[in-house]
Amino acid sequence: MAVADEKFMQVSMGPQHPSTHGVLRLLVRTDGEVLSSVKPYIGYLHRGLEKIAERVTYPQFTPFTDRLDYLASMNCNLAYAMTVERLLGIEIPRRAQVIRVIMAELNRISSHLIAFGSLSSDMGAFTPFLFGIREREAINDLFEMVCGARLTFNYIRIGGVSQDLPEGFTDRTKEFLDYFPAKIREYNDLLSYNSIFIKRLADIAVIRPEDAFDYGITGPNLRASGIRWDLRRAEPYLVYNELDFDVPVGRGEMGTTGDAWDRYMMRIYEMEQSAKIVGQCLGMLAPGDHTAKVPRVLKPPVGEAYVRAENPRGELGFYLISDGSTKPYRLKIRTPSFANLSIVPKLGKGVMIADLIAIIGSLDIILPEIDR
């Protein structure tokens, strides 16, 4: 640990701090309000999921993926299931694919609602946070209806989904989709286009495309820099290639392309698109099996695969090496927030303390995913 010299004050922000989104510790050197360096210290939430994966069977690991990005458990389940399915070579029934897309997109909305809310509360406006929670609650109800859990779903399984959609799910989802756009307009009035909010975020912490590539930024943060890269379009999985949706990219509406406001706004735009996708998928639901025939004991053949999927926070990849037994030989989890956070020391130079909060909030990191 560097010894603070006289000119600077060294402040340890976290691991217990109101706005580090978990147990992140930032060692900050400041000159008054201006930061001269930021050093993230992570690992406070390290549970050794990769090690656990080596001692549980393939299906047993699914609940653990819930605990990667707990705000987007469905997406994590999905990416893991896709990885194992690729090694096993299983084809998924169409109905299961459509259900998976519905779940993934609903979860994307609920995750972005938290991103929206937590950024707003970081910026000092607490009301939008509760509004975001309110709409998320409706989605949680839908999830509870489908799989019985509200946070750690363990719903998307190897081979399909654990249960078929319940009675009344479609109507309830449609009801939600009907009123959701009005809520987004409300968010925009309340927060997105609020001039104080824009002032706080526009032109702050601009990530240029080169930096985004260098630091492995993915997801909405990458698209905010103006790069149209979305795995749902670039490497379509499930039924995404049949769906009509846009991939919003940052245009620097309020400042520079790739600034914090663009990153924030990507999430609002993506919620709109996800709602659109869910609407289309509800129409595509045809009777069929909700899961493929999967043997009771899974023994993928020897091999390795790196499979990735678009998570709300970026690219979630599982690098799985199978030695032909019932347990993974090695499972490396490439999480989006880990790479997204690694740019913070670069962005955090020369900004103010309040901006650092905006940077962390706009990158929308989530700690269990970083520490695994």
Partner: protein, 372 residues
């Protein structure tokens, strides 16, 4: 009050000087107690109101467990704060740390003294009332810095520095816009100012409607006053998402409660000043011109005064639960680039208006035209 003391002492003219002194002290103590009781009751009610307003705005209910409608919540809060452990950090500067809350509270409480609650109800009718309030409320900034420095905590220090910079900067637009108002009645005595605003159905001769400059002044004053009492969007000294809790990070129990109550006390004082100077103080609108018994008039006047003050406090709360927080430099921008120039402009404009039109307001001019 001074009047009352004078009245009593003159009727005690035959008694010795010691008795007169004693009586004076007793009267002063009793009146201080009354004001203190009113202030504490108000502060309790205000914390309850704040939470209820926040609840309403955030689509929830707010406190409703203690007493009917949760009305006794503030009593419970007070008891909780009283019985909490009082922690003084080991490395704190004890005297500064212990002294700060008392000074904050005293300064905030002392500002209640010259307010004119109705024609005959006031603690002390100072002929420099406005000046006195402005002066005494800037003692708060010193006390905050004492507490912040004394805590020996980096977050506290940040908060203290921010608070001092902010409060001192915002004094300038406040004083300038108050000046624009007081040049019309040409008095700093609260009662004189209110009396000046009588007539015009008790509404139209308010100073805020007197001329366009005082109208603007009111808004400049109100914005600056929100900053003066450190409330969102200007709550950077205690911005909980950035610097944990700012200057009162290390305070617990009753010491914290003093800071907390001082904030609400300040809210009342700035709203009362705005009411007195711009909104006609205790002038009863419409029915004020009718003849009625003195006691009824007094009651009405007090009620009107408090209604106006609480309306302004409600607006402050409404703003707090809507807007995000400004950054430190943007806060200074707002003060020095917007509020201060506008306040200067108002002052000049109002002075010219007074010179040219001999103090006649818009209402007088219009009324004059109609009569002719």
């Amino acid at each position: 009050m001074i009047g009352l003391i004078g009245h009593v002492t003159s009727s005690l003219a035959h008694a010795g000087p010691l008795v007169r002194l004693l009586v004076t002290v007793v009267i002063m103590l009793v009146s201080a107690m009354v004001v203190l009781a009113v202030a504490l009751l108000y502060e309790g009610a205000a914390t309850y109101a704040e939470r209820k307003v926040a609840g309403d705005i955030q689509a929830r209910i707010g406190p409703n467990r203690v007493g009917p409608y949760g009305l006794l919540q503030f009593v419970a809060d007070g008891v909780k704060l009283l019985i909490k452990e009082d922690i003084i950090p080991f490395y704190a500067d004890r005297w500064l740390f212990i002294g700060a809350p008392y000074i904050v509270f005293t300064a905030s409480f002392a500002a209640f003294v010259p307010l004119s609650y109705s024609e005959h109800v006031s603690v002390a009718d100072l002929n420099v009332g406005v000046l006195y309030v402005v002066a005494i409320s800037s003692v708060v900034s010193m006390a905050i810095l004492m507490g912040a420095w004394g805590s020996n905590n980096k977050w506290s220090l940040f908060g203290g520095m921010r608070a001092v910079a902010q409060i001192i900067s915002y004094e300038i637009p406040i004083v300038l816009s108050l000046l624009a108002a007081v040049i019309l009645p040409a008095s700093l005595d609260m009662k004189d100012i209110i009396v000046y605003q009588s007539g015009g159905l008790g509404i139209f001769r308010w100073l805020v409607f007197n001329n366009p400059f005082t109208f603007l002044s009111f808004f400049v004053y109100f914005i600056a006053a929100i900053a003066e009492v450190n409330r969102t969007p200007f709550d950077i000294p205690e911005a909980e998402s950035e610097i944990v809790a700012g200057y009162h990070t290390e305070y617990t129990g009753m010491r914290f409660a003093f800071f907390f109550m001082a904030e609400y006390g300040d809210m009342f004082v700035v709203s009362a000043i705005a009411t007195t100077l711009f909104l006609g103080g205790w002038q009863v609108p419409i029915i004020g011109g009718l003849s009625m018994p003195v006691w009824l008039r007094e009651v009405l006047e007090v009620a009107v005064f408090f209604a106006k003050v609480f309306l302004l406090i409600y607006v402050m709360m409404w703003i707090r639960w809507t807007l995000p927080r400004l950054r430190v430099d943007q806060l200074m921008d707002l003060c020095w680039k917007y509020l201060t120039p506008i306040a200067f402009f108002n002052l000049v404009g109002a002075s010219v208006w007074v010179l040219l039109l001999h103090g006649r307001g818009v209402y007088d001019l219009v009324a004059g035209l109609l009569i002719h």
